[in-house]
């Protein structure tokens, strides 16, 4: 059935985030990134540019890496979402998080949540990417601290870790 909402309606949006059901209120115009940060208090996802160019707000939505500032909250109704907060398995870091830590793949850490998601999206499709493929894979994520060298290195290292850990870390996001 068709769904609709008028300008000032507050709509209840329910979706699965990091394996857990979340629910909150949003106007039709509320962007998903504002919804998760302000309404659901998941502040790990960041905002950097407002026009869909920096990638700091990248999340997994139904298995795809997506800029959450370019999606309406209402569009995420029923969606399956993974944010940076959902990468680790309890206290156990995801191999890509470990790799960023070990290879100094972050400085200020502001772009990092989006960078991790984009890195992971790439590795899920292409478990053994070349340097060029990694660079293209994170083209939509801008970083002003690292010059990308150690981010590329981290993603390479994550690929190795994930391959050696086999299916264990190939959780779908």
């Amino acid at each position: 059935m068709m769904k609709s909402a008028t300008k000032s309606d507050m709509i209840r949006v329910t979706c699965k985030i990091n394996g857990k059901e979340y629910s909150g209120l949003a106007e039709p115009r509320t962007l998903f990134v504002h919804f998760i940060r302000d309404e659901l208090n998941l502040t790990g996802t960041h905002i950097g540019c407002d026009t869909g160019h920096c990638g700091a707000c990248t999340i997994f939505m139904n298995g795809k890496s997506v800029k959450s500032c370019m999606v309406l909250a209402i569009q995420a109704q029923g969606a399956d979402i993974t944010t940076v907060e959902g990468l680790a398995d309890g206290d156990k870091l995801h191999p890509i998080q470990e790799a960023f830590w070990e290879n100094h793949g972050l400085q200020c850490g502001y772009c990092t949540p989006g960078m991790l998601i984009s890195g992971l999206f790439l590795l899920q499709r292409n478990p053994d990417p070349t340097e060029d493929e990694i660079r293209r894979g994170i083209e939509g994520n801008l970083c002003r601290c690292t010059g990308y060298v150690n981010i590329v290195k981290s993603i390479k290292a994550a690929a190795k870790k994930m391959q050696s850990e086999g299916g264990k870390s190939a959780r779908s996001m």
């Binding site: 769904k3 909402a5 115009r29 962007l31 869909g52 795809k64 890496s65 997506v66 999606v71």
Partner: protein
């Protein structure tokens, strides 16, 4: 940055979408939203209602018809980039889709959205013009099919009426011995084009050009066909000299804008350079 308020509709069928557009005067279709939402956040666009068709999964497909390849309007760039049939038969579309924005944008942005947004500097409109794609437009009255030459009407304006929805894009199969290519000249790889050039050509005997279409992006209000250059090459041998001569006249009729990335004069020159290169790229792919 927050968009202005709008009503939101999420129709469950294309017919419902058409009805909603009909009923809401100042409404806009929301497909992938990668251009529209940015404009709305900057408050450069403020439709009073959005008709969100992004959930109409039946509009996302690539199908091989007898005479053409049909692509559902909601097919995302990422699928186009990786589709093997497209790569084999319409390589220029692979070229173009793979250079749009970045991975996240390609994961959401759609071919129909990009076509209807009709930014002359975008990649797909130029590539689709070179293919001479046909656009299937649905309305309450039924459907009509519009060729690329008539689809792109003006800056950010297409043949799709207010209460119509673009449903499919059809790429007529190319004859044997055809090849295609798209090159974007831009500052960064994912940027909008300073000049985008799409070429589809068919060879006759030897190296003779049997047919060719050259489309130019970012040099006019709509994707521009370089007709003079096309006519010049038809029936001629595709050698370096003829290609260079054709490229020299490829900018006839172009009226590019000037901005910090490319002045009008620069774009006029780049049309020549990249027409030449793209014709050669397309030639190298003739099968």
């Amino acid at each position: 940055m927050t968009p202005k308020k709008f009503d939101y509709y999420s129709p469950t069928s294309i017919n419902e979408a058409i009805q909603l557009l009909h009923d809401n005067e100042d409404s806009k279709v929301l497909a992938g939203g990668q251009s529209l939402l940015a404009l709305m956040k900057l408050r450069l666009a403020a439709p009073s209602a959005l008709v969100d068709i992004s959930k109409l999964q039946e509009m996302s497909y690539v199908r091989e018809d007898k005479d053409y390849l049909g692509i559902g309007a909601l097919t995302i760039h990422d699928i186009i980039e990786h589709n093997q049939t497209i790569k084999k038969k319409f390589t220029l579309l692979t070229d173009a889709a793979s250079k749009i924005g970045d991975q996240q944008i390609r994961n959401v942005g759609t071919i129909g959205g990009s076509s209807c947004h009709a930014d002359p500097a975008a990649d797909l409109p130029t590539a689709l013009s070179a293919v001479n794609a046909h656009f299937v437009i649905r309305s309450g009255k039924g459907q009509r099919i519009v060729p690329a030459t008539e689809f792109f009407v003006d800056l950010f304006q297409t043949a799709v009426g207010h209460d119509e929805v673009l449903s499919e894009i059809r790429l007529p199969y190319l004859p044997p011995r055809s090849g295609s290519g798209y090159i974007k000249h831009s500052r960064r790889e994912g940027d909008f084009a300073i000049v985008g050039t799409g070429v589809v050509l068919t060879m006759g005997d030897g190296n003779v050009c049997k047919d060719i279409r050259i489309a130019l992006g970012a040099v006019s209000a709509t994707p521009l066909r370089a007709k003079s250059a096309e006519e010049y090459l038809k029936g001629k041998t595709l050698d370096d000299k003829n290609i260079a001569d054709a490229a020299e006249i490829a900018n006839e009729g172009a009226d590019p804008p000037s901005d910090m990335h490319g002045s009008k004069e620069y774009r006029m020159e780049m049309i020549k350079v990249f027409t030449r290169r793209t014709v050669k790229l397309a030639m190298s792919r003739v099968m």
